[in-house]
């Protein structure tokens, strides 16, 4: 399964988790089977508007089934939901830690935008 994680820099699993989604500088795509990590520059960040929508398109096009981010805005949330992409909120420091937390089941899944986790 492919997981997309918002990343501040290009440093594999050590990349810092970025608190925002739409204008996150990078996305880390982690394959849970092969353990491969790919860091991709987020072109959506360059957009004058609708960065969240464009970022959602980007990660969907790359086959991500799960997103881990610090927060997700309303339009991005809407787009990702339509794409059946699960969203989780993490306050971990790095991409690697966030993926571990997800697999341990300790991350909250979003049921509405802006980081309001499901109770």
């Amino acid at each position: 399964m492919k997981i997309a994680v918002t990343a501040e820099n290009d440093n594999g699993l050590q990349s810092k988790l970025n608190p925002h989604f739409g204008r996150s500088p990078y996305f880390a795509f982690v394959d849970t089977e092969t353990k491969e990590v790919e860091l991709v520059k987020n072109n959506a960040a360059r957009a004058a508007g609708g960065a969240g929508v464009s970022a959602a398109q980007l990660i969907s096009d790359r086959g991500a089934k799960v997103l881990i981010s610090g927060s997700v805005g309303p339009k991005a949330y809407s787009a990702l939901s339509s794409g059946n992409i699960e969203m989780y909120i993490s306050k971990d420091n790095t991409v690697g830690e966030a993926v571990d937390s997800l697999q341990e089941g300790s991350l909250s899944q979003l049921s509405s935008p802006n980081g309001t986790p499901r109770k």
């Binding site: 508007g49 609708g50 929508v53 969907s60 339009k75 787009a79 990702l80 339509s82 794409g83 059946n84």
Partner: protein, 285 residues
């Protein structure tokens, strides 16, 4: 005559000047073009007898006809469209209504529907001023189409005063664009000066004759603006001194010329001066 009142900075007194000037002159039409936050009504009266809704077009996708080719998603410069699991999603809030996606779709799967953008309201007031207000719906971004519609209400038989949005961006430009003269309102502080410079630069670019009114003027600080105006040969039309009672009246939505009617003469003088400048210009001086 069409006069637009503007300022580089918010809070300098545009609405104060627009309203008080409107009340001092005859045959006046007042247009509130500060459509994000129209405030003239608090001074003129909040009874409206006519409302016209303004719409813009946004796409509606027929998912049955759609072949998921993504041409529309790739075309849109504003990211208002996305494709998720072969379905096209539309985000009307960020759509600019350009009509491009409809044109580009190879199978005519996109139509356009109306989305409310804002409204124009006609006000009834005890002063006999013909008053139209433009208002942008919360959440909408495009002020310009609302201002364009508002300007259609211009009465050619009246002197028109347009209260513009503060700043120097497109909505202000739209309000000022075909005016005969612009009044730049400022305050005698470094903030006022800094933003006056921007507004004046804009006026030069648009080639619109303009003059300055200093609001909250004070003897000790007016030089901040006066020096600049002298340097750039910009006429100072009027100085409205800081008077605490004026501020109090403003806060209660009372135009100060109501309580201080001698100020009407001052605004009449300003109007006459502007009329003089325009006549000179017409005579090719």
């Amino acid at each position: 005559m069409k006069l637009t009142v503007l300022s580089g900075k918010g809070g300098t007194g545009k609405t104060t000047v627009s309203v008080n000037m409107a009340l001092s002159l005859s045959k006046i039409q007042l247009l509130d073009a500060d459509v994000e936050e129209p405030n003239c009504k608090y001074f003129i009266g909040t009874d409206f007898d006519k409302e016209e809704k303004i719409y813009r077009k946004v796409p509606k996708v027929d998912q049955e006809k759609c072949t998921a080719c993504r041409k529309c998603v790739d075309f849109c410069e504003y990211n208002a469209l996305a494709m998720m699991i072969d379905e096209v999603l539309v985000f009307p809030e960020i759509c600019h209504s350009c009509g491009g996606c409809k044109r580009i779709c190879p199978v005519n799967a996109i139509n356009e529907v109306d989305r409310e953008l804002g409204n124009l309201k006609h006000g009834v007031n005890k002063y006999g001023i013909d008053f139209w207000q433009g208002e942008l719906n919360i959440g909408e971004e495009s002020s310009v189409p609302v201002i364009e519609e508002l300007k259609e209400k211009t009465n050619p038989n009246k002197n028109v005063i347009i209260d513009a949005q503060p700043g120097t961006t497109c909505p202000t430009i739209e309000a000022a664009a075909d005016s005969d003269y612009c009044i730049l309102v400022t305050e005698p502080t470094p903030f006022g000066l800094s933003d006056l410079k921007l507004a004046s630069e804009l006026m030069d670019e648009l080639k619109i004759p303009h003059g300055v009114i200093i609001n909250r003027a004070e003897e000790d600080s007016d030089y901040i603006i006066e020096d600049f105006c002298e340097e750039r040969n910009i006429n100072i039309l009027l100085k409205i001194p800081f008077i605490r009672d004026f501020a109090h009246l403003y806060s209660n939505g009372i135009p100060f010329v109501i309580d201080y009617p001698t100020w009407k003469d001052e605004f009449k003088k300003v109007f006459k001066e502007i009329r003089g400048v325009l006549d000179e210009k017409d005579n090719g001086n």
